[in-house]
Amino acid sequence: MLNTEPNIAAPDDFYEALLAIHQDLLPAQSRLVDAKLILLLSNHIGDPEVLRQAMAKAREGIVPAGQDAILAARA
């Protein structure tokens, strides 16, 4: 079960550290750092149900405004 109650002892310290790893980075560099962070934390959590709930929560309320680079195929 995904825990959305406070679980970080020093929230301001955490938030500052999270921003600090992005200092002076270009958007593409930040994107890479975030992606690595997500992968590392996901592996640490491991539980597929918790990961699924977290992904659903993150995606909640966002309406797609782009399009993937795939095409419908018919033969």
């Binding site: 690595k36 997500i38 992968l39 782009g66 680079a69 095409l71 419908a72 033969a75």
Partner: protein, 556 residues
């Protein structure tokens, strides 16, 4: 003597059917003499079924095309009587390596255990594979092949299929009880029946450069992400026989497919990989895009679609030709039983159920590989790059790197032909699974278990002694019986049974017992395609009869 299978031409020959007053009727017509059509025809012929094979061309595969043939496919070809030649000629490999930029990221072994006759893969040009299959087909009197015979129209009625066949001498008509459409990804038969294959196309282009050269790369699958010699794209390298190497360059969606296949564009790309001093010549060049797609159903009445006509995948994972051959082995025994009147027509519905599920498994794996290799949006690319960066020193990330999940046979776990387990078993040999190989001692000495399974339903019985072999008794179909005993336990040594008696094999290294989680009394019923359909802890003729009826569609 070396045969140049690519250069062979097969003559059109006029046949009696062309002069017939009414269309000649054939029990089964297979369209397409590629790997899938040839395998289907051979398998049917081995079951004693007469087959007519039509092909619109007069030659085998142009270019090396499909080159990676998986262990299970080799085992199918062994059963079809031509696997040995393929392994002998092919380049055997088990290892894959992945590189990111300049660095090796990880390696994987696709067959990390011993005790199997066949390797994880052999690489072999498609024209050799087709040539060896054709040689085998031509040795079977049940098979008639007509070259330069193009099917231009198909009409289906309750009692058969009418085909219009175009030849250099004009058209004629044929009737078939069943039609197997192994006529490729653009399947004219699919089109003639107004059917479609649907799915997704990925916005990327790839260049295949097959080059002939002396090189000291090992016989392994090498995959580079963003290598220094081909920045921001991927490259795949495979060894083929005759000093030919397959190099597959990712080009991106914006590449010009006409310009990119010209030698002045291809040669510098190859030279960038090999270095300036390695001499090579271009053997075959092709530009491709790919789709993952399938037909909604593979059975349409009396027409059965097999191979690329039914489904398509990306090449990363070698799941195209390999899954097509598995379609063929799944279909052939069912069709032979139905045509012989030994099973109801509804048995063919299980071809659709089992192979549609297999196609979905292949498409799922292929799509996931493609999503990694060809990122479809900005986030896909970021996660791909992050995974590769972490893979250098984090073991978990290596498991996420996906340069292709290589072809494995499907287990038909949900098949209606399976009898569910009533007793506890461990291991991989669940109902629906393809039988695993193991070393055995047979009448002729060291041998392999799979050589004694299949082509007919087979009872595989494990015992501590050869004194009380299972007696299947009166069954609706001929069933082979194979008894596996511990080393030294076969009185008078292992022996091969004539039809109606039992073949006795010794479990040379104990691996058969281990892989089948067998104890004395354990009995498996295997289908003619070597898939498990039932198993028990003791031999019970009534249970065998019931399982056999279920596996032939005679009871639900």
């Amino acid at each position: 003597m070396q045969v140049d299978y690519q250069a062979l031409r097969f003559d059109y020959r006029r046949c009696a059917d062309q002069s017939a007053a009414v269309p000649a009727r054939h029990p089964v017509i297979v369209v397409g003499a590629g790997p899938v059509g040839l395998a289907t025809a051979i398998d049917l012929a081995q079951q004693g079924q007469r087959v007519l094979l039509l092909d619109d061309d007069e030659a085998l595969s142009h270019g090396s095309r499909a080159i990676c043939f998986a262990k299970r496919t080799l085992e199918v070809f062994d059963r079809l009587g031509c696997g040995e030649r393929m392994v002998e000629k092919g380049v055997t490999w088990n290892l894959g390596r992945v590189f990111h930029r300049e660095e090796p990221v990880y390696g994987f072994n696709l067959l990390p255990e011993g005790g199997h006759q066949r390797p994880a893969f052999v690489n072999l040009q498609q024209y050799y594979l087709e040539g060896f299959l054709l040689d085998r087909a031509q040795a079977l009197p049940e098979i008639e092949i007509r070259w330069r015979s193009r099917v231009t129209a198909v009409a289906q009625a309750d009692d058969g299929v009418t085909l219009t066949v175009e030849t250099p001498e004009g058209e004629y008509r044929l009737l078939a009880d069943y039609l197997v459409a192994a006529d490729g990804s653009r399947s004219p038969i699919r089109r003639a029946l107004g059917l479609e294959s649907r799915g997704r196309t990925f916005r990327d282009r790839f260049l295949i450069a097959d080059v002939r050269m002396e090189a000291d790369f090992p016989a392994e699958r090498w995959f580079w992400f963003d290598p220094p010699f081909h920045r921001n794209q991927s490259v795949l390298l495979h060894q083929q026989p005759d000093g030919v190497w397959r190099i597959d360059f990712q080009l991106g969606w914006d590449a010009d497919p006409v310009a990119e296949r010209q030698p002045d564009k291809v040669i510098p790309r190859v030279r960038a990989l090999l270095g300036p001093d390695v001499p090579f010549e271009l053997e075959w060049v092709s530009i491709y895009t790919f789709s993952c797609l399938r037909m909604e159903r593979f059975r349409h009445g009396r027409v059965l679609f097999a191979g690329d006509s039914a489904h398509g995948v990306s090449p990363f994972g070698a799941r195209g030709a390999n899954s097509g051959v598995q379609d063929a082995e799944n279909l052939a025994w069912k069709l032979a039983l139905v045509l012989r009147g030994a099973a109801p027509d509804s048995l063919l519905d299980s071809y659709d159920a089992e192979r549609v599920a297999a196609a979905d498994e292949n498409i799922l794996n292929s799509t996931r590989s493609t999503d990694f290799i060809t990122p479809k949006n900005e986030a896909s690319r970021a996660f791909r790059d992050a995974t590769l960066a972490l893979a250098r020193d984090c073991a978990f990330a290596r498991r996420l790197v996906n340069s292709g999940r290589l072809s494995l046979p499907s287990t038909y776990a949900a098949s209606p032909l399976n009898t569910p387990d009533a007793e506890a078993f461990a291991g991989a040999m669940v109902p629906g699974a393809p039988a695993l190989d193991a070393p055995v001692r047979a009448a002729g000495g060291a041998d392999w278990l799979l050589r004694y399974l299949g082509n007919a339903f087979t009872l595989l019985h494990f015992s501590d002694d050869a004194a009380s072999p299972p007696a299947p008794g009166d069954l609706p179909l001929p069933v082979r019986a194979v008894l596996v005993v511990p080393p030294g336990a076969a009185a008078g040594g292992p022996h091969e049974g004539v039809p109606g008696t039992v073949t006795v094999l010794e479990d040379a290294d104990g691996l058969a017992r281990q892989r089948y989680d067998a104890r004395p009394g354990t009995t498996y019923l295997l289908r003619p395609d070597q898939h498990v359909c039932a198993r028990w802890r003791r031999f019970d003729p009534a249970a065998v009869r019931a399982a056999l009826e279920r596996a032939t569609g005679k009871r639900a």
